[in-house]
C-alpha cells in the first residue's frame, strides 16, 4: 500500500495567450482544491467522498468549464454532464442534460447510491434531482459574462470552441477565434466548423 494520492484537472488545451493573472487565478484555484482534498484524506474520508467534495468545489467556482462558468450551447443555455465511479465493486453514476442542479457531480453520486441505474439524462435526471431534494437554481446561475462573450466569438467564427478559455483581453485580437478560422481545430479528422451546420 503506497499511501494516499490525489490529482485534479481544469481542462486540457490552454489558450497560448492566456494572461498571466488568469494563469495565476487558475493555479490558485487548483491549489485550493488540492488542499481541500488533502485535508479530507488526512481526516480519513474515503476516495469516493473526496472526489465528490473536490469536484463540487470546482463546479461552484466559475473559473473552469463546469457548473457555474460552464460553456454555453448554441442557444446560449447551459447543459451540464458529470460522472463518478468508485473503484471497489466498480459502482458508478452519471448524468447528462442537467440545467438546474447546482452541483451535477452530487446528482451523479445519487444516481449511483439511490437509483437502480448508472446513468440518467435530461428530463428524467431533472425529475430525479427534484425527488432527491438536491439544491436547484435557475439556468442563469451558471451563465457568466465571460462565456456570453465567448459564445458570441464562436458564432462569429462559425465554430465550436475547444474546452478552453479565451482571454477577454484577447477579444480585440480575436486570437483564438482567429486561430479557429486560420487553423481550425480538427474533430474526427474534419475541420471542427463543419459540425455547426448540423
Amino acid at each position: 500500500m503506497g499511501g494516499w494520492a490525489i490529482a485534479v484537472h481544469g481542462g486540457a488545451g490552454v489558450d497560448p495567450n492566456l494572461p498571466t493573472e488568469r494563469q495565476e487565478e487558475a493555479k490558485h484555484l487548483l491549489t485550493h482544491c488540492l488542499n481541500l482534498g488533502i485535508s479530507a484524506l488526512r481526516s480519513n474520508l474515503s476516495a469516493i467522498d473526496v472526489v465528490e467534495l473536490v469536484v463540487r468545489e470546482l463546479e461552484t467556482d466559475p473559473l473552469f468549464n463546469s457548473g457555474r462558468g460552464s460553456a454555453l450551447t448554441e442557444k446560449g443555455t447551459v447543459e451540464m454532464e458529470a460522472s463518478i465511479m468508485d473503484g471497489p465493486k466498480r459502482r458508478c453514476g452519471a448524468v447528462s442534460g442537467i440545467t438546474t442542479v447546482k452541483n451535477p457531480i452530487s446528482l451523479a453520486r445519487l444516481v449511483m447510491e439511490k437509483s437502480p441505474h448508472s446513468y440518467l439524462a435530461f428530463a428524467g435526471a431533472e425529475e430525479f434531482a427534484r425527488n432527491q431534494g438536491v439544491e436547484l437554481v435557475d439556468n442563469d446561475y451558471f451563465i457568466t459574462e465571460d462565456n456570453v462573450g465567448m459564445l458570441k466569438l464562436a458564432k462569429e467564427a462559425n465554430s465550436i470552441l475547444f474546452d478552453y478559455r479565451i482571454p477577454i483581453v484577447g477579444l480585440e485580437t480575436c486570437s483564438a477565434g482567429a486561430a479557429a478560422t486560420e487553423s481550425p481545430l480538427q474533430m474526427n479528422g474534419l475541420p471542427i466548423s463543419v459540425y455547426t451546420p448540423e
Binding site: 500500500m1 503506497g2 499511501g3 494516499w4 494520492a5 490525489i6 490529482a7 485534479v8 484537472h9 481544469g10 481542462g11 486540457a12 488545451g13 490552454v14 492566456l18 487548483l30 491549489t31 488540492l34 482534498g37 484524506l41 474520508l45 474515503s46 473526496v50 472526489v51 465528490e52 469536484v55 470546482l58 463546479e59 468549464n65 463546469s66 460552464s70 460553456a71 450551447t73 448554441e74 442557444k75 447543459e79 451540464m80 454532464e81 458529470a82 460522472s83 463518478i84 465511479m85 468508485d86 473503484g87 466498480r90 447528462s96 442534460g97 451523479a108 439524462a121 462565456n147 464562436a154 458564432k155 465550436i160 470552441l161 475547444f162 474546452d163 480538427q186 474533430m187 474526427n188 459540425y195
Partner: protein, 131 residues
C-alpha cells in the same frame, strides 16, 4: 471540464468528472465526461478522469483503456497513461489524470497544456498548466 481522482489510505480508487461541454454545442450533445469508461473510470487498480476532445475520448474509451493496459499488459500507472495518450487518441487532443491503488499519481496530455494539480502522501505536490 473539471475532474478529480483519488486513492485513499486504504488503497481505494475513485474518479469524478464534470463539464459544461463545448462552447456553441448543439443542445442534446453528449460528450465523454458522463460516459463511464470514456471520460471517467475507476476499478481496484486505478481511477482516471479525462478532458479534451470528447469525440476522440469516446472513440478511444480512454479512461477504461488505462485500467485495461495496466491489467492486461502489466504496465505501471505513468506507462499506461503515456501509452493511452499516445496510442489511443488518433488525431484527437486530450489529457487525463490518474491514480493507482499503489499510491501512484500521474497525468498525460497531447495538448499544449492542461490545468492540473497533483499531490501524494509522501509530500509531493505540483500545480501546473503548460508542458
Amino acid at each position: 471540464t473539471v475532474g478529480c481522482v483519488v486513492v485513499d489510505k486504504e488503497g481505494r480508487c475513485a474518479a469524478a468528472t464534470s463539464t459544461g461541454g463545448l462552447m456553441n454545442k448543439m443542445t442534446g450533445r453528449i460528450g465523454d465526461s458522463p460516459l463511464i469508461g470514456a471520460g471517467t473510470y475507476a476499478c481496484d487498480l486505478c481511477g482516471v478522469s479525462c478532458t479534451g476532445e470528447g469525440e476522440a475520448i469516446i472513440r478511444g474509451t480512454l479512461a477504461r483503456e488505462v485500467g485495461a493496459v495496466m491489467e492486461y499488459k502489466g504496465l505501471g500507472l505513468q506507462e499506461a497513461v503515456d501509452y493511452v495518450v499516445k496510442e489511443r487518441l488518433d488525431e484527437g487532443k486530450a489529457g487525463l489524470i490518474a491514480v493507482s491503488n499503489n499510491g501512484e499519481v500521474a497525468c498525460g496530455f497531447n495538448t499544449n497544456g492542461m490545468f492540473r494539480g497533483i499531490a501524494s502522501e509522501d509530500g509531493f505536490m505540483e500545480v501546473a498548466i503548460w508542458e
